[in-house]
C-alpha cells in the first residue's frame, strides 16, 4: 500500500516517473501569530493529473495554496515549478509561472462584463478596445476547446454562480495557466453544476493541465482525483493514490481516529402536528421577495430536511420562524397561531412558545464571540427563573448549568470561563446546540449545523439531533450539504428561488433528483439535457434576482 505517513509526499531519490513534478513544495511552514497554519509541508504534484487536497476546516489547505499563489509569503520552505526552483512573492509571479487559482469566494468585479474581468491585469497596451477584441477571440477558442461557454458581454452579477466560476477558470486559462488550483469549488454549486465542473476539469486534464482540487468532501476526492494528500492541523499526514484508498481511510487520516460516516437511526414515529406553515412570504429591505409563499409542516418526532443551494430562501425561512425577521402568512405551533409582524414577533416570544433556533451563522447570530462560554450558554434563556434571583442573575446557577452542558456535549476545552472565540468551530457550535436543545423544545430550527465543524463534532451533533427527535421534538433542518440532508431527514423538501419545489422521502429519491429540484427543474423538458435545463433555469433566476 502506498500509504506511509513518514515518507509520503517527500521527494524520493528513485522517482518512478522521470518527468519533473509540475509542482513540488519542500518544507513549507507558515504561522499567523501563535497559530501554526502550515508545518513543514512537502508535496509533489505530477503534471497532467488531478491532485486532491483534503482536510477539515482549518487544517491549512487554503493557506498552503495561498502561499503557492503568492498571496502569502511562507516563513520557510521552497517551491519548485516544473523542476525549477521558483520564488513566488506575489500573484503576478504566480501567474507568470503558469499558476491559476479559482478562489472559494470569486475575485470578480460584479458590475463588469465577462470580457472586462478576463482582461483585468493582462490588458495589451493602454487602450481597452484592442485588448477586448483579442480577448473576445481567444475566449471563443477556449470555449470551443474546453466546452466553457459563457456570454462574453454578460455582466457578472447577472450570471449564475456556476457560470461565474467558469469565468474564473477562463480567467486562469486566458493567462495561460498550466496549473489550476480550485479551492472548495463545489460549495455553491448544485449537483448538476458540480458534475459539469468535473467534466470540464477532466477535459483540462486531457489537455495536459495540472489541477489541484481542495475540498473537504470525500466523495469528490474519490470521484475526481488521481492522487490525494491529506492535511490535519497544519501538517500533511499522507499522500496516496486515490484508487488505493477508501473514504473511510481518508476520513480516518483527516480526523486521526475512526469515524462513523453513516448515521445510525431508527425509522421516525411522527406524532401530533407541531409546526404548520402556510403561504409564508418575506420581502427584504431591498423590496425583493425572498419567500414566495412557502407551506410546510413538521410533526413531533420527525426531521424535515430543507435542501437547496444557499441563497434560495432557506435563511429567510429560518429567520422568520425564529423571530428575527417579519413576514406574512400563517404559522401555527401546536395549532396556535403565532405573531409574525406585531410586537410579539420576536425571538424571545418564540422561545417561550417552544421554538429553539440554532442559526446558520453561529458567529454572528448564535454567539457573542467576546463573551464567556457560560454567558453564551444562557443567551435567550437568561430570563429563566432558574437563572435569576430577584432582580439579579444567578451567575453561579448559570455556570453550574453550563458545566453540565460542557460535560454532556463534550465541549473542549472544558472551561466555562473561556470566551467563545477561543473555542474551535465545532466546539462553538456545540455551545449553541447545547443551549438550544437542553430545553427540550417543541421544535428545533437548525441551520447548517455542521458548517465549518470538524468531522468528529459533526458525528456528535448529528447524533444529538436524532436523539432530540427520538425524544419527541420536531426538527426543521436546513442544510446545503446534500449528504447531511439525505442521512438525517425523515422527509426532504427542496427550496429554489423562495419556493418549495417538492417534497420527497429519502428512501425514494437520490442526489440526482434532488439536484434537479435544487435548480428549480421539476421535469426535464423533452429534447433538452438535464444540464441544459439546469443552466437555463439558474441563469434566468440570476438575471431576475
Amino acid at each position: 500500500m502506498a500509504l506511509d505517513a513518514d515518507t509520503a509526499g517527500r521527494p524520493s531519490p528513485a522517482a518512478p516517473d522521470q518527468t519533473a513534478p509540475a509542482i513540488e513544495l519542500r518544507g513549507i511552514s507558515k504561522a499567523f501569530g501563535p497559530v501554526q497554519a502550515n508545518k513543514d509541508i512537502s508535496i509533489r504534484v505530477m503534471p497532467g493529473t488531478i491532485h486532491g487536497i483534503i482536510g477539515e476546516n482549518g487544517a491549512g489547505k487554503s493557506t498552503l495554496m495561498s502561499i503557492l499563489y503568492g498571496f502569502y509569503k511562507a516563513d520557510a520552505g521552497e517551491i519548485f515549478i516544473n523542476g525549477q526552483k521558483t520564488e513566488i512573492p506575489d500573484s503576478q509571479s504566480a501567474i507568470r509561472s503558469g499558476i491559476g487559482m479559482v478562489f472559494q469566494h470569486f475575485k470578480l468585479v460584479e458590475n463588469f462584463t465577462v470580457l472586462e474581468n478576463i482582461i483585468l491585469g493582462v490588458e495589451d497596451g493602454a487602450m481597452l478596445r484592442p485588448s477586448l477584441a483579442k480577448a473576445r477571440k481567444t475566449l471563443k477558442d477556449l470555449a470551443a476547446e474546453y466546452e466553457l461557454n459563457v456570454d462574453p458581454d454578460a455582466v457578472i452579477e447577472d450570471l449564475s454562480v456556476g457560470h461565474q466560476q467558469r469565468v474564473e477558470i477562463l480567467k486562469a486559462l486566458y493567462r495561460q495557466a498550466q496549473i489550476l488550483i480550485l479551492d472548495e469549488p463545489t460549495g455553491v454549486l448544485t449537483p448538476a453544476e458540480a458534475d459539469q465542473l468535473f467534466r470540464i476539469l477532466a477535459r483540462l486534464k486531457e489537455e495536459g493541465k495540472t489541477i489541484i482540487l481542495i475540498t473537504h468532501k470525500l466523495r469528490e476526492i474519490m470521484d475526481a482525483t488521481d492522487t490525494v494528500s491529506v492535511m490535519r492541523r497544519g501538517e500533511m499526514t499522507a499522500t496516496v493514490k486515490t484508487s488505493e484508498t477508501s473514504p473511510e481511510q481518508l476520513a480516518e487520516l483527516m480526523v486521526g481516529r475512526k469515524v462513523l460516516l453513516e448515521i445510525e437511526k431508527q425509522p421516525a414515529a411522527p406524532g401530533r402536528m407541531v409546526l404548520e406553515v402556510e403561504n409564508l412570504q418575506v420581502i427584504d429591505d431591498q423590496g425583493v421577495e425572498r419567500l414566495k409563499g412557502v407551506s410546510l409542516h413538521v410533526r413531533a418526532g420527525e426531521i424535515l430536511g430543507i435542501s437547496g443551494v444557499a441563497g434560495n430562501g432557506q435563511t429567510e425561512l429560518l429567520e422568520v420562524l425564529g423571530g428575527i425577521t417579519k413576514g406574512t402568512g400563517s404559522v401555527r405551533i401546536n395549532g396556535e397561531e403565532i405573531d409574525l409582524t406585531g410586537k410579539h414577533s420576536d425571538g424571545r416570544t418564540r422561545r417561550h412558545r417552544g421554538i429553539a433556533h440554532v442559526p446558520e451563522d453561529r458567529q454572528r447570530e448564535g454567539l457573542i464571540m467576546d463573551f464567556f462560554a457560560w454567558e453564551n450558554a444562557c443567551f435567550g434563556y437568561h430570563d429563566d427563573p432558574s437563572y435569576n434571583r430577584g432582580m439579579l442573575t444567578d451567575n453561579d446557577a448559570i455556570r453550574g448549568d453550563t458545566e453540565k452542558k460542557i460535560e454532556k456535549f463534550d465541549i473542549r476545552p472544558a472551561n466555562c470561563w473561556l470566551t467563545a472565540k477561543n473555542f474551535s468551530g465545532g466546539n462553538q457550535q456545540k455551545i449553541v446546540v447545547a443551549r438550544e436543545m437542553e430545553r427540550n423544545p417543541e421544535i428545533l430550527l437548525v441551520g447548517q449545523p455542521t458548517r465549518g465543524v470538524d468531522i468528529g463534532a459533526i458525528e456528535f451533533i448529528h447524533k444529538q439531533i436524532v436523539a432530540l427527535r427520538d425524544a419527541g421534538s420536531a426538527v426543521l433542518l436546513v442544510s446545503v450539504e446534500l449528504d447531511e440532508i439525505l442521512s438525517l431527514s425523515d422527509r426532504i423538501a427542496v427550496m429554489f428561488d423562495g419556493r418549495i419545489m417538492g417534497e420527497r422521502l429519502p428512501v425514494e429519491t437520490d442526489e440526482r433528483e434532488l439536484g434537479l429540484l435544487m435548480a428549480g427543474v421539476d421535469k426535464v423538458p423533452a429534447g433538452v439535457s438535464e444540464v441544459e435545463a439546469v443552466e437555463a433555469n439558474l441563469d434566468a433566476a440570476a438575471r431576475e434576482g
Binding site: 498571496f71 500573484s91 487559482m101 460584479e110 472586462e116 483585468l120 497596451g125 493602454a126 487602450m127
Partner: protein, 320 residues
C-alpha cells in the same frame, strides 16, 4: 434672452468649481476612497494660488502652488486611508478643519489683512478669453448672442473644466488605467489577485483628485474672485459630493448635476429675474438656500437609488 443669458453665463462660472471638485471626487471614489475633504483641499488651493499670485504677480505660478497644496492634502488623506488603512471619513474631516484653520492663520501672518490676501490685479488673475469672431457674431440673433455672451468670454479654466468631462469619461471607460481604477473601487481583491497593486492604483486616483481640487480652488480665488477670503469655498466641496451622488458617479451626469447647482446659485444672485419669471417676489434668503436644500434632498436619497462603488470607504485588507 437678454435676461436669461446673463443668468446662464453666471451658471457656467459658478458650476466650474463644482465640476472640478465633482470630477475630483469621482476619481477618488471610483477607486474606493471616499473623500469628504474636497472642501478643505479647495480652500487650501484657493489660498495658496491667491497668495502666490499676489506675491509673484503670476497667476500661473499661483495655479501651480494651489495644485501643490491640494496634492499635499491628498497625500495626507492617502497615507492615512490607504497606507495605514484609517477611517476615510475621519481623515477627510481632519483635512477640512486643517485647511479652514491654516489658510486664515497663514494669510493673517503673511499679509496682515484680516485673514485675506490682497486683491489680485492684472496678470495675477485669469483674464477672460474672447473666442474668435465673438465680436462679429454678437449681432446675429440667438446663435450669435449665445456664442458671444455665453460660450465666449470665460477664463481658460472654464474651458479646461468642460474638457475634463469627456477626458474623464475616456480615461475611465476606454483605457487600461480606467478599467483598473473602476475595478479597485468595486472589488480590490480581484485587482490584487490579478497581480496589480491596489495601493498604487488608489494613490494614483487620490493624486488625480488632488490636481482637480487644486484647479477648483485656484479658479475660485484667481478666476471667479480676485483673491482669497476666509472660508471662500463655502460648502462647495460638499455640494460637489452631493452632485457626485446625484450623478451616480458618472462623468457626463456630473456635468449636468453641477450645472444644475450652478444654475441655482446663479438664481440667488438675480432675484429680479426670478421675480420676473414667477411674478412673485422670492425672498433672497430662500434663493440662497436653494442649492443647500437640494444638497440635503439628494443626500437623503430622495432622487432615486444611487449605488456607490462597492468597496468604497473600506480599507483593503488581504484575506483568505
Amino acid at each position: 434672452m437678454d435676461l436669461i443669458l446673463p443668468v446662464l453665463d453666471t451658471t457656467v462660472r459658478l458650476a466650474i468649481p463644482l465640476l472640478f471638485a465633482c470630477l475630483a471626487g469621482l476619481f477618488s471614489e471610483r477607486a474606493g476612497i471616499f473623500d469628504i475633504g474636497l472642501e478643505g483641499k479647495m480652500l487650501a488651493a484657493a489660498f495658496f494660488s491667491a497668495a502666490l499670485a499676489a506675491v509673484t504677480g503670476s497667476v500661473w505660478l499661483g495655479l501651480l502652488a494651489g495644485i501643490a497644496a491640494s496634492i499635499t492634502l491628498s497625500a495626507i488623506h492617502g497615507i492615512a486611508s490607504i497606507t495605514f488603512r484609517g477611517n476615510q471619513l475621519i481623515s477627510g474631516v481632519a483635512i477640512n478643519f486643517l485647511a479652514a484653520g491654516l489658510t486664515v492663520l497663514i494669510a493673517q501672518d503673511w499679509f496682515q489683512q484680516g485673514g485675506r490676501t490682497p486683491s489680485l490685479i492684472g496678470g495675477a488673475r485669469f483674464e477672460t478669453i474672447d473666442l474668435p469672431f465673438a465680436e462679429a457674431l454678437s449681432g446675429v440673433p440667438i446663435f450669435g448672442q449665445i456664442y458671444a455672451d455665453l460660450i465666449s468670454g470665460h477664463t481658460i479654466l472654464v474651458y479646461v473644466g468642460f474638457l475634463c468631462v469627456p477626458l474623464t469619461w475616456w480615461i475611465l471607460f476606454r483605457t487600461r488605467f480606467g478599467l483598473r481604477l473602476r475595478a479597485v473601487g468595486e472589488n480590490p481583491a480581484a485587482v490584487d489577485t490579478a497581480g496589480i497593486s491596489v495601493v498604487w492604483l488608489r494613490f494614483a486616483a487620490v493624486g488625480i483628485c488632488g490636481i482637480l481640487c487644486g484647479l477648483a480652488g485656484a479658479y475660485l480665488a484667481t478666476g471667479l474672485q480676485a483673491g482669497f477670503v476666509k472660508d471662500m469655498s463655502s460648502g462647495r466641496g460638499f455640494i460637489a459630493l452631493a452632485a457626485l451622488i446625484f450623478a451616480k458617479w458618472r462623468p457626463w451626469y456630473a456635468l449636468y448635476a453641477t450645472l444644475l447647482f450652478g444654475f441655482l446659485q446663479a438664481l440667488s444672485l438675480r432675484p429680479d429675474v426670478v421675480e420676473l419669471i414667477f411674478r412673485v417676489p422670492m425672498p433672497v434668503q430662500f434663493l440662497d438656500a436653494l442649492p443647500y436644500i437640494l444638497t440635503v434632498v439628494i443626500l437623503a436619497g430622495f432622487v432615486g437609488k444611487a449605488i456607490p462603488p462597492k468597496a468604497g470607504g473600506e480599507p483593503y485588507v488581504k484575506e483568505r
